[in-house]
Symmetry: C2
Subunit: 121 residues, 2 copies
């Protein structure tokens, strides 16, 4: 039996992790895009799958590459299926590192949130 007289609002931390090198060069947007390119084997398909305009996806990738100093995508144009894109080895390593890094941070953030805010929120 459970009488709910009063429901406390549940607060939670949300953190976004970006990497800067001079300017912003890598964040959740590029990461998600790369993940989908890996699946779809196409930047266009990746963009569509996350309801993003292709032109934006392309800009995002190009800016990130410029800031990072290496290519994220290996893309081919033309051919039977028009072409496609896949992740460069550097992109694969970066994405894996980023995902692991984010997971650690989020886990630490969740623990520490209790300690810091349990008395307050």
């Amino acid at each position: 039996m459970c009488y709910t007289f009063f429901m406390e609002k549940k607060f939670r931390p949300v953190l976004t992790v970006r990497i800067f090198g001079g300017d912003k060069c890598f964040g959740p947007g590029v990461a998600e895009l790369l993940r989908r390119v890996e699946q779809e084997k196409s930047l266009r398909a990746a963009a569509i799958s996350m309801a993003m305009a292709y032109s934006k996806a392309w800009t995002v990738i190009r800016n990130s590459e410029a800031e990072l100093g290496f290519k994220l995508l290996i893309s081919t144009t033309g051919g039977k299926n028009g072409g496609g894109a896949s992740l460069s080895p550097e992109a694969k390593r970066l994405l894996a590192a980023y995902d692991g890094y984010c997971a650690k941070l989020r886990s630490y953030a969740a623990e520490e949130f209790e300690r810091s805010f349990s008395e307050i929120l």
Copy 2:
């Protein structure tokens, strides 16, 4: 004597910490605003000091308060100096907790960044 043949680009993590409770209710924007209200003893002055439109500052505070469920500002209107604003006790505690929390996360993020990316970036 120092010959610089090649300067590695310095990459660093930048993380933004937000608190959600249903919707977003607290983040770096509100926090900075509160800090400045504490200094300036006025929401208008606080907004101006950070080149933010008063109307936006006011909206930001109002939305945050609505989501949090308590008032952040104690404001008086009229009088010799027109009025002013100060932080509610809850706001003071929340801001202190938020700042401490962010500091811990950033410090952890900086350490962990080395481990996660030193081979890559």
